[in-house]
């Protein structure tokens, strides 16, 4: 689960990571009140789960109340790379002397947490990695040992952080690692991590650094241990069909074609999309009914697929292991009773209890349902009937 910037910052604040003070707003009036409260200048920031907000005009500085209202009006409802802005974060403006990049993530290759630090923050870090890989200091942490002070020093020195900031940056990285572990994140990224100008003689270095942005991805599988985080889900920003599927425990991704796809297991469903595409079809969705799909889940899956009006035909591709073919067949029969689909279905059923499943389908003699013996045959068949449906 990806968090919005402000949710990530609130999480940071709970772990004593310095962030600019700010307030959340969902309307123009709320945003203006928040800005008055924080004082001017302040920054109005669109809250969407996608990069490039600044370039798209989703981040603006307001010098007074009039500008705050103007910016809030412009940003709320704005479309940023396909996502509509429903929420704002109003934040005190920060003075910036330097911008760094810091992150902790689960490195799937090394199977260890990876901590990264660079003094080239504030810009496209992927481009930095490509053009000047030495500009990013990296370090793998043994998860059984945890982050040590020397890790922080090493990263800070290797990244070329000024001497007076080595200790505070090291402390910041430790706190970031603590967030990664304590909240069971798979990614915690701060870009930019800023250094503010020295306030005067004797200003402690630690008081000069702040996380100006926050990108946090939490592990969905661990949310049962973090009930507060589980509530951060953002149903308003999701596609209605995807939300409907999620509520029913199905994995659904909407695509832009006209052939509805249902399968069991992510790999088989991906493969099914590929094979359908090879036969000239365009999948309308990815839907993984999951391991051990029961009849009820299948019925709900059919409802989700058919709620997309573009769907002209549906392909069921089931190879049962933990999923039983008879359950799938029963679910389909029940779905036809409840939903009465108007589009043709092609069903391919193999694996555990497949014969019984095929028997159930044959006995029910559902209108518009045909069966195929192999995945290739099923894909060809569904592409064919979808074309006929589109022509009709």
């Amino acid at each position: 689960m990806d968090l919005l910037e402000y949710q990530g910052k609130q999480l940071f604040a709970r772990h004593d990571i310095p962030v600019p003070s700010g307030r959340h707003a969902t309307s123009v009036d709320e945003a203006v009140a928040a800005a008055d409260d924080i004082g001017y200048p302040c920054v109005i920031k669109a809250q969407v789960k996608i990069g490039g907000r600044g370039k798209a005009g989703g981040i603006k500085v307001a010098d007074d109340r009039h500008e705050a209202r103007e910016h809030a009006q412009a940003i709320l409802g704005m479309d940023i790379r396909g996502l509509e802005v429903h929420e704002l974060w109003v934040e005190e403006a920060s003075q910036i002397e330097a911008e760094l990049y810091a992150s902790v993530l689960l490195d799937r290759g090394a199977k260890k947490p990876l901590v990264m630090l660079s003094t080239h923050g504030g810009m496209d870090i992927e481009a930095v990695a490509e053009e000047d890989p030495d500009a990013i200091a990296t370090l793998h942490v043994d998860p059984l040992l945890g982050f040590q002070d020397f890790h922080g020093r090493r990263l800070a020195f290797e990244a070329g952080v000024p001497a007076e900031l080595v200790r505070p940056i090291g402390g910041f990285l430790r706190a970031l690692y603590d967030v990664f572990v304590a909240e069971e994140a798979t990614l915690v990224e701060v870009n930019p991590l800023i250094v503010t100008p020295e306030a005067g003689a004797g200003a402690a270095g630690a008081g000069r650094i702040r996380a100006l942005d926050a990108k946090v991805t939490l592990d969905d599988n661990a949310l049962f241990r973090h009930p507060d985080n589980a509530e951060l889900r953002d149903p308003g920003a999701e596609d209605p069909q995807e939300r409907m599927a999620k509520e029913r425990g199905l994995t659904y991704v909407k695509l832009d074609g006209d052939i509805g796809i249902l399968g069991n297991g992510a790999g088989l469903v991906m493969s099914t999309l590929d094979v359908v595409a090879q036969y000239g079809g365009r999948p309308a969705n990815f839907l993984d009914a999951g391991g051990g799909s029961k009849a009820e889940a299948i019925t709900q899956a059919v409802e989700v697929i058919l709620s997309n009006e573009k769907v002209k035909a549906v392909l069921f591709n089931i190879f049962g292991g933990i999923t039983r073919g008879d359950e799938v067949a029963r679910g389909l029969v029940e779905a036809f009773r409840q939903v009465e689909p108007r589009v043709p279905f092609v069903v391919r059923l193999d694996g555990t209890n497949d014969e019984e499943g095929r028997r159930i389908l044959a006995a029910a003699a559902l209108e518009g349902v045909r069966t195929a013996a192999t995945m290739d045959e099923a894909a060809q068949m569904v592409v064919e009937v979808a074309k006929q449906g589109a022509a009709a």
């Binding site: 998860p143 990108k215 193999d350």
Partner: protein, 294 residues
């Protein structure tokens, strides 16, 4: 020969008293796997269709000589069960459970590598291991497969069956079918299993089935070029998958590629590994490479 499980496998099932655990444990037993014990805390003395249940893995190993574990408990208990099996001296642990927290997997993986290098963990979130005609540990529908010379290693469960099925239609049987699982931190990688197949006499060709995300396929490509003498045919699922709605870019920086199917296929083909575009094509490539199935 075959890899990981065979007629010497003595299986202990954690979660055997649960609905799914008992269904599949007994399926494995009917297939001919020696299912010698089950573990459910507090239920020692009971039995599931003749399989004795113990409170701890330690007791199960002492009493039955179990050498292989299958973990079927819910996600929040699964890491603990894997660690318990390893602590009791089990050598091969097959974790079927889906949905284990990634940080649990990190701890388990690194502990096993550091403290118990002799233990092999397959999964989690995997369909298990089948050596046709010898033993089935997991949820693979074994009736579809017969003994033969093709080893299969795959990240996905149901796709493994599909590929095995396509191979069977071409007349091929399998030495072993190994599902390594699709989680971010699998206990065994493609490379680990490729090494086993390379050393296995029965295996003459390996089919490797990958999918989008991560860089395990790219790493396997390097390994194959350097260490595998047997022919390998690959399949990658997800050519038409839309780019993920990822937020941070840190993952892409690490892998050095974007984890796309096209990038993976290109990496494999650059190392001389043929990549089928559909499961059917994979079987065709296997047939071209080996001649007719046997």
């Amino acid at each position: 020969m075959s890899v990981l499980v065979d007629e010497r496998t003595r299986l202990c099932v954690s979660g055997i008293t649960g609905r799914e655990g008992s269904f599949h444990a007994l399926n494995n037993k009917r297939y001919g796997t020696q299912v010698v014990a089950g573990v459910t805390p507090g239920k020692e003395g009971q039995s599931v269709d003749g399989v004795p249940v113990f409170n701890t893995f330690r007791r199960a190993v002492q009493e039955t000589g179990a050498n292989t574990a299958m973990v079927f408990v819910p996600p929040r208990f699964a890491a603990d069960s894997i660690l318990e099996a390893a602590d009791a001296g089990i050598a091969v642990i097959v974790a079927i459970t889906e949905g284990i927290p990634a940080h649990d997997e990190l701890r388990v993986y690194n502990h096993l590598r550091e403290a118990r290098p002799g233990v092999r963990l397959i999964g989690p979130n995997c369909p298990g291991v089948l050596s046709p005609g010898k033993a089935n540990v997991g949820i693979i529908p074994a009736g579809f497969f017969k003994p033969g010379n093709v080893g299969v290693v795959s990240r996905s469960g149901t796709l493994t069956y599909q590929i095995g099925n396509s191979l069977a239609q071409r007349g091929f049987g399998n030495s072993s079918i190994v599902g390594i699982g699709g989680d971010p931190v699998p206990g065994s990688s493609f490379i680990d299993i490729l090494a086993l197949f390379e050393a296995d006499e029965q295996t003459e060709l390996v089919v490797m089935s990958g999918e989008i995300g991560g860089a395990a396929e790219e790493e396997a490509a390097e390994y194959i070029a350097a260490h595998v003498t047997k022919p390998v045919v690959a399949y990658i699922a997800g050519f038409t998958a839309p780019p993920g709605k990822t937020m941070g870019h840190a993952g892409a920086i690490v892998s050095g590629s974007h984890g796309t199917a096209a990038a993976k296929a290109a990496a494999l083909e650059a190392r001389g590994v043929r990549v089928g575009r559909t499961p059917t094509q994979v079987a065709e490539l296997a047939a071209e490479t080996l001649g007719a199935g046997r």
